[in-house]
């Protein structure tokens, strides 16, 4: 069985496309699309890797990331942040909150694949 990735993103068509390319690459993909209970989804799914959008309804991706890092169980889980803003400030905030990698929208599918493979050492 492949590794498990949790995609937290609110755009249905982005979810569909990213899920598709990751499943084809042999990942087990779980998705979640709002900020409120994102942490519960993380605990429930226990993923090997998390892809996290910064702009989520209910809660900011940065806050969710802080919660993830605050949980002993997921303190070391690789997190790939997605954002629509490429500003240095966002990048810094992501790094400070403990993101493993940071990707600016729009991205290419190949970049996403390369990043997730890289992050779990596959």
């Amino acid at each position: 069985m492949g590794k498990k990735v949790l995609l937290i993103e609110d755009e249905p068509n982005i979810i569909e496309a990213v899920s598709f390319i990751l499943s084809r690459d042999g990942w087990e993909v779980k998705t979640h699309s709002n900020g409120h209970d994102a942490m519960e989804a993380v605990r429930l799914r226990g993923p090997d890797l998390i892809i996290l959008d910064v702009m989520l309804p209910g809660k900011s991706g940065f806050d969710i990331l802080t919660e993830i890092r605050g949980d002993v169980e997921f303190a070391e889980t690789p997190v790939l942040m997605l954002t629509a803003r490429g500003q240095m400030k966002d990048r810094e905030m992501a790094e400070k909150a403990g993101a493993s990698q940071y990707m600016t929208k729009p991205f290419s599918n190949a970049d996403v694949l390369a990043a997730v493979r890289d992050l779990v050492g596959a």
Binding site: N13, I14, E16, P106, F107
Partner: protein, 436 residues
């Protein structure tokens, strides 16, 4: 030096400035000249009553002499001096500076305050732009749909043997997202177009002048009368429309109107119109018949009432290629100031002053129409051995009469928006993508 003692120096400065002798001022203030001398050299303190009398005699507000007025000035100066990046003002001599040059010191503090005010405005505006919720929303919408489209379309292209169900689904998604993208983009355009300070768009004085000339149709009856003179130009500049322009734009307009006046005097409207009616729009023959220079005939033709002659465009450039005058004509675009297409006959004639050139031209791209371009270059002002000769080129643009056999030359507006490939005159790449 203590601030208080500097009053003496101020009194002395004021007295010298007013050209009053020490003894005379002492007399008016009811003190002895030697006592005034001691005061002026800051060796005696000065009391309220004497200060009032001296101020009266010097015709200044007592506060100007007393330290009170200066205290604010001095603290403002200190503030300005404390800005990072100021390179060592002489802080120890700040009172002396404020006392000796109150005007300059005041100017300096005023400028400092204005700078601070402007910095705050810039910060506020930057902040507003960065946190404008509508702008952020629309951009987020656009980027999200672009991301989805990009990802989905590359799946469609790159995935071998994609199942028909998936294919159909992704096609539908792309269709959905492109509709969202359209909406987002339209919302952005609408928002930016309706931005509240669009009227305050930065306009060059040249733009203002041309806008003013356009509202008047490039024709000024006031300057066409037999008795018209420079005072009529001044009167025009005093009306509301002209007063609404910035000072530099008013001064440009004055020059253009004075030239208009000179042209109108050389080629009065009535007789000139009669000649045009009999000869037609043929500047060379009109110049021949009137003895006027070809450029002047061009300007006169462009200044005729629009209903009389139909559309006549005119563009004038100086030797640097800068377009100093533009009267547009449909089907031929002109850039706002500089950077026009080097293929224009306007520039071709610069190589051979006084030699006229006529060509049928059409600007490549949308909306370009064939126009008849007539150009000539010449001296812009009388010249001499002691100064550089100033050249100007004029290009008259007339609608193509049709039926001419001459080849139509293709040219552009300016390189950035020009689709002509392999152009020898190109000086920068076009932003119009290949194959668009």
């Amino acid at each position: 030096m203590p601030e208080r003692l500097m009053i003496g120096t101020r009194i002395r400065e004021r007295r010298v400035l007013s050209g009053i002798r020490q003894s005379e001022l002492a007399k008016q203030a009811g003190i002895s000249p030697s006592y005034l001398n001691l005061i002026e050299h800051n060796r005696r303190r000065i009391g309220g009553k004497t200060l009032l009398k001296l101020a009266q005699a010097l015709e200044v507000e007592p506060q100007v002499l007393s330290e009170g007025a200066e205290a604010t000035l001095i603290s403002a100066l200190r503030e300005a001096a404390g800005e990072p990046g100021t390179d060592g003002p002489e802080l120890s001599r700040i009172e002396e500076f404020a006392g000796r040059f109150p005007g300059w010191a005041g100017l300096l503090t005023d400028l400092y305050r204005r700078t601070q005010g402007l910095e705050r405005t810039v910060e506020t505006l930057t902040d507003r732009l960065a946190h404008d919720p509508f702008l952020a929303d629309s951009l987020h919408e656009v980027i999200s749909s672009v991301t989805a489209i990009r990802s989905t379309s590359s799946i469609l292209v790159e995935t071998e043997a994609l199942e028909p169900e998936w294919q159909a689904r992704f096609h539908r998604n792309i269709n959905e997202d492109s509709a969202r993208l359209t909406e987002g983009a339209q919302a952005l355009v609408k928002y930016l177009e309706g931005a509240p300070n669009r009227d305050a768009e930065v306009q060059s004085p040249q733009d203002e002048m041309h806008a003013y000339l356009a509202t008047r149709g490039y024709h000024f009856e006031e300057l066409e009368r037999d008795v018209a003179g420079p005072r009529d130009v001044m009167r025009l500049l005093k009306d509301e429309a002209a007063q609404a322009m910035s000072t530099p734009a008013q001064s440009l307009t004055r020059e253009v109107l004075l030239r208009y006046l000179a042209d109108a005097r050389a080629l009065p409207l009535g007789p000139f119109l009669a000649r045009v009616r009999s000869i037609g729009l043929q500047p060379d023959r009109l110049a021949d018949a009137t003895g006027a220079a070809m450029a002047q005939v061009f300007r006169r033709l462009a200044a005729l009432p629009g209903d009389e002659m139909g559309p006549v465009g005119l563009v004038i450039c100086d030797a640097s290629g800068t377009l100093v005058f533009r009267k547009p004509i449909d089907g031929f675009d002109m850039p706002r100031l500089a950077g026009a297409c080097a293929l224009w006959p306007l520039y071709q004639v610069m190589a051979q002053p006084q030699v006229p050139l006529r060509a049928r031209v059409r600007q490549v791209g949308r909306g370009g129409e064939v126009v008849d371009a007539l150009a000539v270059a010449g001296l812009a002002a009388p010249t001499g051995f002691d100064r550089p000769a100033l050249m100007q080129a004029h290009m008259l643009l007339l609608p193509d009469p049709g039926g001419a056999a001459e080849e139509v030359r293709a040219l552009g507006v300016s390189c950035r928006i020009c689709p002509i490939k392999d152009c020898v005159a190109r000086r920068e790449p076009s932003i119009i993508a290949e194959g668009f």
